[in-house]
């Protein structure tokens, strides 16, 4: 049913066609006095497409079906927590008084929004065990930046500006080191040990008087819980550093154990992973940061607070704050979705969520380990990392396997990450999937493994049935055609 109508919207354009309506101008037309002075005026109109409303609808509808998406089938992308997002979340975010409110409206007519934010902060504080929360960061990476800036400010405040080294395991997500540099600090990378965990000796060696912090993903990106977490946090604390948890994998822990209780001082959450903000093809997300009480003064401004009379207020008077990271209050719409999600789930629901996520991941690990290879022993938490290296001798790479999965109508796992696993396949089923779906996935993987041995060409040339097949990425980068231009002539 899907034709790849390869036309861009610009290529459907026809002079004079429009898809909008404007109210009748019921005020006087502009007088010369009011006109924009000539030098400020636009001369050449932008070459936007000229199309009708039906054409716009058809174009976007037709390109949309070229996408895989969670509402279609399994999306086992490790580290991405592609869970199903209950539709009530979107309904909540679109309600009157939620989607149509101005961020600078007086607080007296924003009490609903402020109450919601306050309630969400309270829930996230409880879930993480870290009592002070900012909801401003727009995504995980901005949450990391928030925390690293706070960390820097904290040390400076304590008269230790020399503390500017941040220790990061080699299995960490790329945003961690990138963030550290932007926050004006330096990265010390440490190798993981044979079990895929933090190597305590390496950690000790890295710690020192310049240690600002350690960033630790737990469960780590292999899906393994850092069993020495208490020792790790204690070591860093002893050295005078803070311990930051990259909370991208919180779907494994929520309701089971709390980062605050493990000794973490700060962390971010990815609401678009753990707490059901849909990914939107790459965003929006939200990356709240939760911290120890004594770090609260450094949180971004403004902060939602509740006064003694029960009224809510934005507190701008935060002299130690690192400042703002967003023009307004962050991705409020995402925060509404998470609030709806947490209200829907409640405490038992949150516990069930992580429990099922862990069970599903272990189920897949158990079923897939014999077919592929499990470089680090389980049990895993919410995701498992396999290696596809045994097919290399047949010329089949993990990327080929990933592409072949697409032919079966599912998405591919995250591949080649974490970097420390050769030919990595990182698989995260989430709690939303039924056993039936997991079994279908296992069956597909088994089929592909067989093909890789018996008929490797079919895998190496995959995908075969998708709208397009292996775009030439080299050409894309070389030519850097980043916008459409009309054909010459």
């Amino acid at each position: 049913m899907v034709r790849v109508d390869n036309r861009l919207i610009f290529e459907m354009s026809s002079r004079g066609r429009t898809g909008y309506t404007m109210p009748k101008l019921d005020v006087p037309a502009l007088s010369d006095d009011d006109a924009v002075p000539r030098k400020f005026r636009r001369e050449k109109p932008p070459e936007l497409p000229e199309v009708s409303e039906p054409e716009v609808v058809r174009h976007f509808t037709n390109i949309s079906v070229l996408n895989h998406h969670v509402d279609r089938d399994f999306y086992p992308l490790g580290s991405c927590t592609m869970k199903y997002n209950p539709k009530v979340n979107d309904r909540a975010a679109a309600l009157p008084g939620m989607s149509d409110i101005h961020p600078l409206a007086p607080e007296e007519v924003s009490q609903g929004a402020l109450a919601l934010l306050f309630d969400l902060k309270t829930m996230l504080a409880e879930i993480t065990g870290l009592p002070a929360v900012t909801l401003q960061p727009a995504a995980g990476a901005q949450g990391e930046l928030t925390a690293m800036l706070m960390c820097r400010r904290y040390h400076i405040d304590r008269g230790q500006p020399e503390r500017d080294k941040v220790i990061i395991p080699d299995s960490a997500h790329g945003t961690n080191p990138a963030t550290v540099r932007i926050a004006g600090m330096k990265v010390i990378e440490i190798k993981s040990n044979a079990a895929g965990l933090v190597d305590l000796e390496a950690l000790k060696a890295a710690l020192g008087p310049e240690t600002a912090a350690m960033m630790l993903t737990n469960p780590n990106t292999l899906g393994i819980f850092e069993r020495d977490v208490e020792i790790i946090t204690a070591l860093v604390h002893e050295a005078g550093g803070l311990v930051y948890m990259d909370g991208a994998n919180m779907n494994a822990l929520a309701g089971q154990i709390r980062p605050g209780d493990m000794g973490f001082d700060m962390m971010h959450l990815n609401l678009h992973k753990t707490f059901s903000q849909p990914h939107g093809g790459g965003g929006p997300g939200a990356g709240p940061v939760c911290v120890r009480a004594d770090l609260a003064p450094y949180l971004p401004a403004p902060e939602v607070v509740r006064d003694a009379d029960g009224r809510f207020r934005l507190d701008y008077d935060r002299p130690k704050s690192i400042g703002r990271l967003h023009g307004h209050h962050g991705n409020y719409g995402a925060l509404v979705r998470t609030t709806a999600y947490l209200w829907l789930l409640g405490r038992e629901g949150v516990e069930r969520m992580s429990r099922m996520a862990v069970i599903n991941a272990n189920y897949l690990m158990t079923k897939l380990a014999p077919i592929f290879e499990l470089p680090y022993a389980g049990p895993c938490m919410h995701e498992c990392v396999l290696s596809g290296r045994k097919f290399k001798s047949n010329g089949v790479r993990t990327m080929d396997i990933a592409k072949r999965i697409l032919d079966f109508g599912m998405y591919a796992p995250t591949v080649y990450f974490p970097l420390i696993v050769e030919e990595a396949l990182m698989i995260e089923p989430t709690e939303s999937e039924t056993k039936d779906t997991l079994d279908r996935f296992v069956e597909i993987m088994r089929t592909i493994a067989r093909e890789a041995l018996e008929n490797p060409e079919i895998v190496k040339n995959a995908p075969h049935t998708t709208p397009v097949r292996r775009p030439d990425e080299g050409k894309a980068a070389r030519e850097a055609k980043l916008r459409w231009r009309p054909a010459a002539g």
Binding site: L30, P46, R324, G333, W343, L482
Partner: protein, 444 residues
């Protein structure tokens, strides 16, 4: 399933978790609610807010109450778009990739700059990223903010760069536009970039040509912060020589939603391409020679380059960029121009109407293309409060930002504001002045 895994109880899977730290009881959050209760309870909160469906909105300051064509929700809320992940597997992500490519093209057209990225978090953080880029390509450490700049953008920009040892200096702009003498005095060889918002925070047009000349003469980057809804009538940044243009897509079909999610855009001169933050989609061909699209130049990004990445951004605001893309598709060149003209005509009418109310004046001359400052005879906060009684968000009390501005009200007028709405606003303003006189309340 536990059986298949080979454990007896779920807890057996958690043996690596320190037993004593495991939660014993329940989390201290409420039990679950039914879907109906969630909708009911969030609706109840919504009723405590000044939704634009109930309140007539003259608030602006970066977020505007423009009309959102119905097509946008319909199309972008298709599961295909909003429940998809980042388009890593291009084969099954052409929908998202095409839409981003179209966004990049439209932003490029609107700004008159050759390259635009796939979106950043918002306009303010886009300014922060631009400052980082400028510092990095010039190797210089001073960032100048000229003219009357949005205080939230200013603060965000500072947060982004100051901690890595950069200095931000801010034009006092006593006339509420850039003070060129101040600028000349502060521009030097350590200046990485000069940022100017245009129209500025007070709705004024800035001397972009002059500032560009001064800036580039010193080897700094000239960064324009612009409102895309004005670019149908105002010259695009490319036309006045900006090196970078950043801004907020919210006016282009994105709900106000208390300020987020919105989407920042980032457009630049070709030569900064390899330093650009954020994702980029490029055209290529597939194995069968078919034209298609893919994420490209990813070596700039954190997941490849790690600490050497041009930015730490990963998740961005794609769905909101889609909204802007659909919006711009609907409007086309004629619509984007008419949008600008309508806001302009309505804002001018509002300004003229308000200027005629005893006690009120429009202190700044110059075209009001969408937003303008009103000098009130009473504290602007009183005017705002009076508006609430009449379900009007009368504008932004500038006293929130600077006590010297406490009598200044910033009024934004979009194409949604009818002559009747403007009349209602003027009545509120008149009433606010009168009631204050009557009550003997505090004056100026």
């Amino acid at each position: 399933m536990l059986e298949a895994i080979g454990v007896r109880r779920f807890e057996d899977l958690l043996l690596s978790l320190p037993e004593k730290l495991r939660l014993k009881g329940h989390l201290d959050i409420h039990p679950g609610r039914s879907e109906w209760e969630v909708v009911r309870d969030i609706s109840a909160l919504g009723n405590q807010n000044a939704g634009a469906g109930r309140y007539t909105c003259f608030l602006g300051g970066g977020i505007y109450d423009h009309h959102i064509p119905s097509v946008i929700d319909h199309v972008t809320m298709r599961s295909e778009f909003y429940t998809a992940y980042t388009p890593y597997q291009a084969e099954v992500s052409q929908g998202t990739l095409i839409a981003i490519y179209e966004f990049q093209t439209m932003i490029s057209e609107l700004t008159g700059l050759p390259v635009a990225n796939a979106s950043l978090y918002d306009g303010a953080s886009a300014a922060g990223e631009a400052a980082l880029l400028a510092a990095s390509v010039t190797g210089r450490s001073k960032t100048i903010i000229a003219g009357r700049f949005h205080p939230h953008y200013r603060d965000t920009l500072k947060t982004y760069v100051e901690m890595s040892g950069h200095q931000v200096v801010v034009d006092p702009a006593p006339d509420h536009v850039a003070d060129l003498d101040w600028l000349k005095a502060n521009l030097d060889d350590s200046t990485a970039a000069v940022f100017v918002q245009h129209p500025n925070f007070f709705g004024q047009l800035e001397a972009m040509d002059e500032i560009r000349e001064l800036t580039q003469a010193k080897g700094g980057l000239f960064v324009a912060v612009v409102d895309p809804s004005t670019l149908g009538i105002l010259a695009p940044p490319g036309a006045y020589g900006a090196d970078i243009a950043v801004g907020e897509c919210q006016p282009l079909g994105i709900p106000m939603a208390y300020g987020g999610p919105v989407a920042g855009f980032f457009a630049a001169n070709q030569k900064y391409l390899r330093q650009m933050p954020g994702r980029l989609v490029g055209e290529t061909v597939d194995r069968d020679g078919k034209r298609c699209w893919t994420l490209t130049l990813q070596t700039r990004e954190q997941h490849i380059r790690r600490e050497k990445a041009t930015s730490n951004i990963c998740t961005n605001q794609t769905l909101l960029a889609h909204r802007a893309t659909v919006y711009m598709s609907l409007l086309g060149p004629a619509g984007i121009r008419e949008l600008g003209e309508q806001c302009h005509a309505r804002a001018s009418h509002a300004a003229r109407t308000i200027a005629a109310i005893p006690g009120y004046s429009i202190p700044l001359s110059g075209a009001h293309v969408k937003e303008f400052v009103v000098q009130c005879p009473v504290p602007a906060a009183d005017v705002v409060r009076c508006g609430l009684e009449h379900q009007i968000l009368a504008g932004l009390d500038l006293g929130r930002f600077d006590s010297a501005w406490k009598d200044l009200l910033l009024v934004a007028v979009t194409e949604k504001r009818s002559a009747a709405d403007i009349l209602k606003l003027s009545e509120v303003l008149a009433a606010a002045a009168a009631s204050s006189v009557g009550s003997g309340g505090p004056r100026g």
